[in-house]
Symmetry: C2
Subunit: 278 residues, 2 copies
């Protein structure tokens, strides 16, 4: 077993994505990303100016291949001024140690709003909407939609994401196992997939498909912060489950509608790619 | 590799605990649990009466060895009328299929408040406190404490729990590996523990110890719903990390204070044991 690889898999599953669901040409994205990698410190100067000249002064500590794209999408929806401080993963796919200077857990997304450090996607989303976004209607005001909004903010990271992360770990352990131990690793991983991960992913797909059959967005007919929390994860779910328009038409329609939002496109332009799940 | 065991491990980590941090004698607990296992349907009749005769009519679908204890603790703190419908795990440690009749994901905790089904610990806690608990002060009203309350409601399941679950899976895969493949499994698991899980658990311990050095409870000087969300998980963290009073004095003090709360003791009495992490 290539331990170094298993190790980097485990690191990268914190805030990672590995989806290729977009239409853009990968080399373009790679080239843009290579460029962005080298302008971090230059950007910081610009950003510092922006922080002092704009109000609110929001900095997003954005890590490549992470859930941080959600926060860009949110800020574009809110049309708030913000700056991005970009962090790239090393060849080992680890988040750089510098991130621990922002928050002791060293994770992304994390933002600074003035002097306040805010972590945890679900909390950042609700915090920013509640503080700055009242007129954008990203948090429902009617009781039923607000119930769904709050439920889905917790559900995405509390229930769905751990299953997808586990699927990712076992898939990659399997892929990277050297021939000598491959039969053992394959045996464990396939069985776990067949008995546990597969049925669980199916249950989540059915659940979400049922919810999105009843309404356009997760919290109701209106796009909300719950959809921003879900954006990255539902694209990941489609990929991991090989689900498509035929077996999950409402979920597929939902993800396609998300990508058509102008805020989504603007957010992706800012980090040099064309979709959140790239 | 004993696939059946690996399988049951994976199932049981959803909503499980396996801690023995309490002072009570285990056999007493086992005996009490054996009894409770056989009274489920009888209880349901009583419960149905309770539902119709009390207001609010809250039913907790409680699964043994699960995060559902949090909700009992909450309801005792709120001093609300409620009934418990108990579900035991099978010998394979799976949650029974009956739970899917309550909520399509078949998980616990899940509650019914009248006709409303509410899932996800963090959401259930905030929902019940906001709806019924204003006079109990379990949700802070000042800005700074409310910020911490909301952060910790998300942090516990979004960041800390996935690491503990992963630790549990790899520890158990290792324990249950038959001798022929044990060296391979040990090699993978030890390395992952050394390089990834260990440092991550250390980071969480340091973070929480730092937070609890600044204030008595997670959200401030006042006990809150954030502590109820944390209760099960922080006991689990102490156990997994073999941390103790010497290296995490504030975290240890916190867990001990939690166990001393009369509501905590009442909740545990209702399910025939003496602590939440049993």
């Amino acid at each position: 077993m290539q331990i170094a690889n298993a190790y980097s898999i485990l690191y990268s599953i914190e805030d990672n994505r590995d989806l290729k669901l977009c239409n853009s040409s990968s080399w373009q994205v790679r080239e843009q990303r290579k460029k962005s990698k080298h302008i971090k410190h230059k950007m910081s100067d610009t950003e510092n100016k922006a922080i002092t000249s704009n109000s609110p002064s929001i900095v997003v500590y954005w890590l490549a291949d992470s859930r941080a794209d959600r926060i860009l999408l949110l800020l574009e929806e809110l049309e708030l001024p913000y700056v991005i401080q970009k962090f790239e993963r090393g060849p080992d796919k680890l988040a750089p140690a510098e991130l621990k200077k922002i928050h002791p857990l060293g994770k992304s997304p994390v933002i600074k709003d003035g002097d306040k450090v805010v972590a945890e996607s679900g909390f950042i989303i609700d915090y920013l909407i509640s503080k700055y976004g009242k007129e954008k209607h990203l948090k429902p005001t009617n009781e039923e939609d607000l119930f769904q909004y709050n439920y889905f903010l917790h559900y995405i990271e509390g229930s769905l994401m751990p299953i997808l992360v586990m699927k990712y770990i076992f898939l990659n352990l399997q892929k990277q196992a050297p021939w000598l131990v491959k039969p053992v690793v394959n045996g464990i991983c396939n069985k776990i997939d067949q008995l546990y991960l597969g049925p669980n992913i199916r249950a989540h797909l059915d659940f979400l498909e049922g919810e999105l059959k009843q309404r356009k967005w997760l919290a109701g007919e209106q796009f909300s912060g719950a959809d921003i929390q879900a954006s990255f994860t539902l694209e990941m779910l489609l990929k991991r489950s090989n689900a498509n328009e035929e077996n999950v038409p409402n979920l597929s329609r939902y993800v396609a509608a998300m990508r058509e939002r102008p805020a989504y496109k603007r957010a992706m332009e800012k980090v040099g790619k064309s979709c959140i799940a790239e």
